[in-house]
């Protein structure tokens, strides 16, 4: 198994990317309502937000953890700055996906090594990276997916 993990590290992301997963990527347009966002999140643990319907240009992401924060009772921190503390589903200030998504993404490209991508995920505390080719999302790398490969299930 150790040998196999090393092998996986040296592979290009392009080589391990699943074609089926590409069709099945969870995406939503950024001006979709919170309700449609939640209906996707009921089944998936994250959604990539794209700029408009039919587009593959990723502009944000909403994860389960983000949602948790938005579903819990809104609580103000001690020091309040900026607009983001006013954004809440409870108080009706968040109505679109755009309002709640994380806009700054850490991404990888199909030509990166899997090892580097994993390192990136560890450094940034992430469990998933969008694979971006040019401007468009072509797939995603998740911790689950890597485990499946390691166990020979993919």
């Amino acid at each position: 198994m150790e040998l196999k993990l090393k092998e996986i590290h040296d592979k290009k992301i392009r080589d391990i990317l699943d074609e089926r997963a590409k069709i099945n990527l969870p995406v939503i347009e950024k001006d979709a309502s919170i309700q449609s966002l939640l209906s996707i999140l009921a089944a998936r643990d994250h959604v990539w937000a794209v700029d408009k319907k039919g587009s593959r240009k990723v502009v944000g992401v909403v994860t389960e953890k983000d949602m948790l924060r938005l579903l819990a009772p809104a609580r103000l921190p001690k020091y309040v700055f900026g607009k983001k503390y006013g954004v809440s589903i409870e108080y009706g200030t968040a109505t679109k996906t755009e309002d709640v998504m994380c806009k700054q993404l850490i991404t990888c490209s199909p030509d990166d090594n899997v090892g580097d991508a994993l390192q990136k995920m560890v450094n940034a505390g992430l469990r998933r990276l969008p694979v971006i080719d040019g401007d468009e999302i072509v797939g995603e790398i998740t911790a689950h997916y890597i485990i499946q490969i390691l166990l020979g299930k993919r």
Binding site: S33, I34, Q35, A74, L76, P77, K78, Y79, V80, F81, G82, K83, K84, Y85, G86, S88, Y91, G92, T93, T95, C102, K103, Q104, L105, I106, D116, Q119, N123, A124, G125
Partner: protein, 396 residues
């Protein structure tokens, strides 16, 4: 002489008391910051010192806490910048910009007039204007949440203007408090913003670059280092340290690691450095200054509150709000908190206020903070009735 034992004791007592009183105030639906200031007043020379002869946190004995407090300010403004973000500026729109311009302009003017009435010098009048133009809407946001009115036009405008106010207030502060002649100062400010734009451009480019080296926690360390160096740069250009750290924060808000940096800063800042700043402010509160306050306080607090109400109301009225809503925006922008205290202490550290005057201004600002955050919830509920929730019903 540096006394480690005393410093450790001070830090321990200050941190725990600030946390407990902060929590108590939070439970009482008051800003935790006031609790932290109160912790400082209790531990400081004027309560513990006078009652028990237990002299800690006294500025004359130990200046290490002061150093930590100043780092707290720098971190607080850095956080403020990074959480505000350059993106917010683009989304703020015309209404926000107009209201904010009137708000900061008129509040500043009122501060200047108060200085004039007290017979202060030009520089002191401007310094008071700067204290007046700061806003912290934490208490307003809390009240609007209670009234379930955060999603209304009024709530939205208050949130937007609060963001712009911080930025505008800090720009005004940098321009008006710089040292030297007008031409030199303008040149320095231009140099500062030129550096700002070059780094901003560099950061956008840098994101495209592929970096192979993997130094653990490099992003966090370099973010902190960048904040401190940029603040030092601002100071060497004759601007305030907080200007530097606020703009350093704005710069780093464009990089993808923004969230990680904010989380890290919240851990370090909220637990250690920032509460110590408010404790230190409380400990510097000089009760003997109150006797000399008389007329100052008579002008200072009402004018500070009126400046915001009038400025914001005019701005909101111009952008198309009706009278009642415009007044609600004005009242909602009334509270002063962190930023006003930071501006006042920065002005002290720059040597603009000194001696008895410094104590009086700080005491007035602390009283302004407490009074404004006590009356805002009542005043806001009095003047503002949120519209019936029909827009929300369709979304829910």
């Amino acid at each position: 002489m540096f006394d480690l034992k005393l410093l450790l004791l001070e830090l321990g007592l200050a941190l725990i008391l600030a946390r407990l009183l902060g929590y108590a105030f939070d439970r009482a639906k008051q800003p935790a910051v006031i609790g932290e200031i109160l912790a400082g007043i209790i531990l400081g020379p004027f309560v513990m010192g006078n009652l028990f002869g237990f002299d800690i946190l006294s500025p004359s004995i130990n200046s290490s806490v002061e150093a930590i407090a100043y780092i707290g300010i720098v971190l607080l403004l850095f956080l403020s910048g990074i959480e505000t973000g350059i993106g917010e500026l683009k989304n703020s729109g015309k209404k926000g910009l107009i209201t904010s311009a009137f708000d900061v302009g008129i509040a500043f003017l009122f501060g200047y007039i108060v200085g004039g009435m007290m017979g202060y010098d030009f520089i002191h009048r401007i310094a008071i204007g700067n204290i007046f133009s700061a806003t912290s809407v934490g208490i307003t946001v809390r009240t609007l949440m209670e009234m379930d009115a955060l999603h209304t036009n009024v709530g939205n405008l208050i949130l937007t203007v609060a963001v712009l106010d911080d930025i505008l207030g800090i720009v005004v502060l940098s321009v008006t408090l710089g040292k030297g002649s007008v031409e030199m100062l303008l040149l320095k400010v231009l140099i500062f913003f030129a550096i700002f734009i070059v780094i901003l451009y560099g950061l956008y480019k840098f994101q495209k670059a592929k970096i192979k080296a993997n130094i653990p926690r490099f992003v966090l360390t370099s973010a902190l280092a960048f904040c401190f160096i940029f603040s030092a740069l601002a100071m060497s250009l004759g601007l305030a340290a907080i200007t530097g750290s606020f703009f350093a924060g704005l710069l780093l808000s464009v990089i993808p690691q923004r969230r990680r940096i904010t989380e890290f800063l919240h851990q370090v800042g909220d637990v250690f450095f920032i509460p110590l700043f408010f404790v230190w402010v409380g400990a510097s509160f000089d009760f003997s200054a109150i006797h000399g306050l008389g007329t100052l306080i008579l002008y200072f607090i009402p004018m500070a509150l009126l400046g915001k109400i009038i400025g914001c109301s005019i701005g909101a009225k111009i952008t198309g709000f009706n009278n009642r809503d415009a007044l609600a925006v004005g009242v909602g922008m009334m509270p002063r908190m962190e930023v006003a205290l930071i501006v006042a202490t920065t002005e002290m550290s720059m040597g603009i206020f000194a001696g008895a005057m410094a104590h009086q201004i700080l005491a007035s600002t602390i009283l302004l903070v407490i009074i404004s955050s006590l009356i805002t919830p009542f005043a806001l509920k009095l003047v503002y009735k949120p519209p019936a929730k029909e827009s929300n019903a369709t979304n829910a």
